[in-house]
Amino acid sequence: MEAETHNDTHPIPNYMAIFWWLLGLTILEIAWAIIPHHSELILASGIVGLAIIKAVLVALYFMHLKFERKTLGILFASTLILGCILVSVGIAELVLPRP
């Protein structure tokens, strides 16, 4: 078997279903942004939450992470964890009281 040969053993996902989910979540996201909210935290957490769901759908189904070897998932997840640490440190600097 040549290196370029691709033998996908995983089932082909229903891409159109993912598309409709992405479209629906985008509409929901915009609606959430337009609706007035009492606090900026509620607005931000709702929008970021929906965006993360959409990003996960793209990674799992369009990038086939759900069907790939675990090695790739671990590789990708490790950078995401590092990224989360980076962002958390930045937010902590804003939130935590300074000495």
Binding site: I12, A33, V48, A51, M63, L80
Partner: protein, 201 residues
């Protein structure tokens, strides 16, 4: 010096030259590259969050055209779907449909870039320049870097589409399309996050 005398051969198509993980080199290389891109964009997004919530910030909706960008987001999501359909059809052995979907992906990426250029021109004309405010600086930095990634993606899609039309890809050999697809979906994924963070919050 017996080791030096031994001939080192490299056959890119040999099974044993795949990585020890069993993933082709090209694909693994793209994933490693995407991991570095995650860190790049995390740095940008992290900086934006710190600046955004650490100072007074205008409401993005008052400056930016949300509806135009929402339509552009829709186009990019559509191009991601057409990219994955191009891969699906070449895997199924239908080259003609794969060509059609690759062309649609190219069209979607080009429209996205065109709309972004239009948006920039409009905003600059309105006086919203990178030097106007912190919001302006961060907005143009983040969307500009993403736009550059889209531009690179469009160039690569055009290249791969050309190769597809020349018959360089077959149902058995199409790793180039799959690897490019990974990059394109990543660009889409980043935009999903940028649209939410920069435009909606």
């Amino acid at each position: 010096m017996e080791h030096a005398a031994a001939a080192i051969t490299f056959d890119p198509h040999a099974e044993e030259d795949r990585t020890s993980t069993g993933i082709p080199h090209d694909k693994m290389g793209m994933w490693v590259f995407l991991c570095s891109e995650v860190m790049f964009f995390t740095g940008l997004i992290g900086s934006y969050i710190v600046l955004r919530f650490g100072s007074t910030w205008p409401r993005p909706m008052d400056t930016l055209n949300i509806w135009l960008t929402a339509a552009n987001t829709f186009i990019l999501i559509c191009s991601s779907v057409t990219m994955v359909k191009a891969l699906e059809w070449i895997q199924r052995g239908n080259i003609a449909k794969s060509k059609l979907f690759m062309c649609l992906t190219l069209l979607g990426g080009s429209i996205f870039l065109g709309v972004q250029v239009y948006e920039y021109r409009h905003l600059l004309h309105e006086g919203f320049t990178p030097s106007k405010s912190l919001f302006g600086s961060t907005f143009y930095t983040m969307t500009g870097f993403h736009g550059f990634h889209v531009f690179c993606g469009v160039v690569c899609i055009a290249w791969c589409t050309g190769k597809l039309f020349l018959g360089k890809y077959t149902p058995e050999h199409h790793l180039g399309i799959e690897t490019l697809g990974l990059y394109w979906h990543f660009v889409d994924l980043v935009w999903i996050l940028l649209f939410a963070i920069v435009y909606l919050i």
